[in-house]
């Protein structure tokens, strides 16, 4: 169906030419699903764009062919390509929130392709759109077809997009991270839908994702990309259960697994090679614990059984496990003091958002006053040195809860006690000591560091602010902080844009630690990071907890990460806390139906093979 042969793609950038893909070859059989997985910068999305003939102006293709059903896509002119896209290849993007045109009705957008490519009348296209919406499992398709995108939830929008891609009855569907922007329960529904469509229509799919659990559920075959090369390719179950290439081993080892508590996660050190001038040998060699002198020679993708692996030592490495960090590190003397009371105690905390905040002219009363309670009567305690995990889907109020505890959002009622101090009901300027003892780490490393300040200035400010050290000692303190988060001292002179995402997140953690807090709210601290970097940050947070006795409220939508780091887990749903308990109990024996639903929706990389569609059909809404 789709054959990519020796494809190389380069991008011109102001910094020089980047080789995004190097000699990629991929064959997708009719009716099969092939997944491309890799971290950011691996070139997986470039493959999709190239296959659709949608590469941007800056891209050049020095070599390679892309054959779709025997026709060379690159030999086609613009018009032929456009026709191919409209009729035989469908594309679904990552973000259902920005792809739909907000000023057109859903039905019109779904049927658009039919009008342009099949010569349907607008009315017939609209009628067909309703049928398609019905097929992708949308309840009451007539009314949804008349709705505008903002009236639909994320999952509904993604369904509508899939319906739109299906409209022209394509033979090939290319999906670029189709579920990444969605919550796990919605993700599970979309995956079920795709699986069902594939069976019914015999559709061929290229599925691009960074999430190995998702890939395992949907694909027959998987190709793992690293730095623009395929490094391992084979049947999904084989590759995920018994990876051969060291990078694939590392990637799989870095993922926390629910129900298997480990001391520390395995991490892949280092970062991607500079793609302006990629190494001639193995591109992973510098990060590879198994590297040998042979690794510096050019590596080819070799056949190994029914698998292809780009590693000279593949045979020898077959059974070798990725090295695990020592279970009990040198921090034997844990500073936790169980006899002391909770460091944070929150009782009956409630926060309501009305429609109007602040001053507005009210010409007429609003007919309906919509109020939402993102935090509804929540009571939690966090003991010193404890990690309380907080999970929930988007909109469940977990971030608002974290911000309310720190009084960064003003709660409406309830009491908050931090380090023995009554924090609720005090004026903001009376919170001086609380601001020292409670800190926060944010989700987005690009947004959490002021781009105009050096890392040294960023870390010095909290020390200055709370007069924690005489000014002469501040540089030494900054070096200590950098050392604590394992960054070299010369990073003090850098600006945020000169660092990678993981390094920025380390600085964010160091800044929170600068005030010597006893409690830190970690708001999705690893959600913006790649798997291998995520593991290193999670390990760092765990080490700091053991060493400094800090307590965390660890907020995340990623249940497996929370299950790994947390001592206790709280589950939030629509502003209410539905379950709280010891991490292993909540993970292995959830009591609340919502927790069960959440846990069953998480796509896993281990355990029994994913259930077939028939068994799950009842859950497809």
């Amino acid at each position: 169906m789709l054959l990519i042969d020796d494809l190389t793609v380069r991008y011109r950038t102001p910094g020089g030419e980047i080789e995004a893909l190097s000699s990629i070859s991929l064959q997708v059989e009719k009716g099969s699903t092939v997944a491309l997985v890799g971290e950011s910068g691996s070139g997986k999305s470039t493959v999709a764009l190239a296959a659709m003939g949608l590469l941007p102006q800056e891209a050049s293709i020095p070599s390679g062919r892309i054959l779709f059903d025997g026709q060379d896509i690159m030999m086609m002119n613009v018009e032929e390509r456009r026709r191919l896209r409209g009729s035989r290849i469908g594309l679904i993007f990552q973000d259902p929130f920005s792809v739909l045109n907000p000023s057109l009705r859903i039905g019109d957008q779904v049927g658009e392709g039919l009008v342009h490519h099949r010569g349907f009348s607008t009315e017939r296209a609209f009628a067909r759109a309703i049928e398609l919406l019905d097929e992708v499992g949308i309840v009451r398709p007539e009314s949804v077809a008349k709705a505008y995108p903002h009236e639909l939830s994320g999952g509904m929008r993604q369904r509508a997009l899939i319906a739109g891609a299906l409209a022209s009855e394509p033979d090939l569907l290319i999906l670029d991270e189709p579920t990444t922007a969605l919550d796990v329960t919605i993700e599970a529904q979309i995956l079920d839908l795709l699986e069902g469509l594939r069976r019914q229509r015999g559709m061929t799919m290229v599925f691009i994702s960074h999430n190995l659990g998702v890939v395992r559920r949907i694909s027959d075959e998987v190709a793992v990309l690293y730095a623009g090369q395929i490094i391992e390719q084979g049947r999904t179950e084989d590759v995920l259960q018994r990876p051969i290439h060291p990078y694939a081993k590392g990637l799989l080892a870095a993922i926390p697994r629910i129900g298997q508590k480990q001391g520390r996660l395995a991490a892949i050190p280092g970062r991607l090679p500079d793609l302006r001038n990629p190494p001639t040998g193995c591109r992973f060699a510098r990060r590879c614990p198994f590297a040998t002198p042979d690794s510096d020679k050019p590596q080819i993708l070799r056949k190994l059984g029914d698998r292809q692996v780009r590693c000279t030592n593949a045979e020898a490495l077959r059974e070798a496990p990725w090295p695990r960090p020592g279970e009990s590190e040198q921090f034997a003397e844990v500073v936790r003091s169980p006899h002391a009371g909770p460091v944070v105690a929150v009782e009956h905390l409630t926060k309501t958002f009305g429609r109007h905040a602040g001053f507005a002219f009210k010409w007429r009363r609003l007919a309906t006053s919509t109020e939402i309670k993102p935090v509804n009567d929540i009571s939690i305690e966090v003991a010193a040195g404890e990690v309380l995990g907080l999970v929930g889907e988007s909109g469940s109020g977990k971030t608002t809860l974290g911000l309310s505890i720190l009084r960064l959002v003003e709660p409406d009622s309830g009491t908050i006690r931090i380090a023995g101090e009554m924090v609720s009901g005090k004026a903001q300027r009376a919170l001086e000591s609380m601001r020292r003892s409670a800190q926060i780490v944010f989700q987005n490393p690009d947004s959490s560091l002021n781009p105009r300040k050096t890392i040294g200035e960023l870390l010095a400010r909290p020390i200055e602010r709370f007069r924690l050290a005489p000014s002469g000692e501040i540089p030494a303190r900054v070096r200590q902080l950098l050392d604590l988060v394992r960054l070299p001292a010369h990073y003090a002179d850098r600006y945020a844009h000169q660092m990678s995402g993981g390094e920025k997140q380390r600085v964010g953690i160091a800044r929170a630690l600068a005030t010597e807090p006893r409690f830190i709210v970690c708001d999705e601290p690893v959600s913006a990071l790649d798997v291998s970097v995520q593991a290193a940050i999670v390990n760092l947070l765990a080490d700091l907890r053991d060493r400094l006795g800090v307590a965390y409220l660890f907020i995340s939508h990623d249940i497996s990460v929370v299950a790994h780091i947390a001592d206790r887990v709280a589950v939030m749903h629509h502003g209410k806390m539905v379950e709280i308990g010891r991490a292993d109990e909540v993970m292995n024996a959830p009591k609340h139906p919502y927790t069960m639903k959440l846990l069953s929706a998480v796509p896993r990389i281990d355990g029994p093979a994913p259930r077939s569609v028939g068994e799950r059909h009842g859950q497809v809404a």
Binding site: N444, N450, R452, A536
Partner: protein, 303 residues
């Protein structure tokens, strides 16, 4: 860092690797656009001429000489002489200083008032925002010349008052820009982090937000300088700014108006000078905007 670090997979080694890995450097600076170069040359030379005026002016700018009235441009008087026999070129050069001083000081006034206004409105939102921005709307609703006239008509005219009046006229655009930049910056997580350290509002406004707001503000300000020069000259033309025998360009044009049929060079010289300066500063500002304003970056790289 030694590459022989035992590869145990612990976090510590990631640091060793980080230091080995190449730093992702910012993209090398793009070459300056033609627009920016031309703008820099024009503006730079006018500023230089203005600064050096007392030393390079070929004749005294204010000495009246009845024998040399209305001399057309020639080898001695390059731009001719005016109705009092004064050298137009010398007056023009001296007037450059006045126009530049006018434009720059008026813009400084707008910045000094507009930036805190915009920062406060964008950061505090709510009633502060409403009050400040509605105030700005009222200012904007009055035509600039009218507003200038209003300020100057009630007090005896003087150049510094003109600068102040012009500065006030251009507060709203600066305040609005500062506000819109602040609105986006206020949602950044580093502002939350500052709040989590109990930083004062003024620290957050001026030390966290303002440094990030400078690039668009500087560009806007440089363009405002040209408006200020034009408005200042217009007010001087109306007799509400610089007073004779000052050689302000607007005043020069105003005084030459009566002789426009007999000696057009007296009015044309300051007119052209003003055009050139305004074009130069505009090119400079637009060129700088393309380099500094991230919103336009994508468009630029597409070229």
């Amino acid at each position: 860092m030694p590459a022989s670090t035992p590869r145990s997979g612990s976090v510590a080694m990631s640091v060793d690797q980080i230091t080995e890995a190449p730093v992702i450097e910012a993209a090398p600076r793009r070459p300056m656009s033609l627009q920016l170069k031309v703008g820099l040359v024009i503006t730079g030379s006018i500023v230089l001429l203005g600064l050096l005026a007392p030393w390079i002016a070929p004749h005294p700018w204010d000495t009246i000489s009845m024998r040399t009235r209305f001399v057309p441009p020639n080898a001695t008087y390059w731009f001719g002489t005016d109705e009092y026999g004064r050298d137009v070129l010398s007056r023009l050069l001296m007037g450059t200083r006045l126009s530049l001083a006018m434009g720059v000081s008026a813009t400084l006034v707008s910045l000094a008032v507009g930036i805190p206004m915009g920062l406060a409105a964008g950061y505090f939102r709510g009633w502060v925002d409403e009050v400040l921005m509605r105030l700005a709307d009222v200012f904007m609703a009055i035509p600039p010349i009218m507003l200038g006239l209003l300020v100057l008509a009630v007090t005896p005219p003087a150049l510094w008052k003109t600068a102040l009046a012009v500065g006030f006229v251009y507060i709203p655009p600066i305040a609005r820009l500062a506000r819109s930049v602040t609105l986006t910056l206020a949602n950044e997580e580093f502002i939350q982090a500052a709040k989590a350290r109990a930083e004062t509002n003024s620290y957050i406004l001026f030390r966290e937000i303002l440094p990030n707001a400078w690039p668009p503000l500087i560009v806007e300000a440089s363009l405002r300088v040209t408006y200020a020069i034009l408005l200042g000259s217009a007010l001087s033309f109306l007799g509400l700014g610089a007073q004779p025998p000052s050689s302000d360009w607007g005043l020069m044009i105003s005084e030459a108006r009566a002789f426009i049929d007999r000696a057009p060079w007296i009015a044309l010289a300051p007119g052209f000078a003003m055009c050139l300066l305004v074009i130069g500063i505009n090119l400079l500002g637009d060129g700088a905007r393309e380099r500094l304003d991230p919103r336009l970056k994508s468009r630029v790289t597409e070229r």
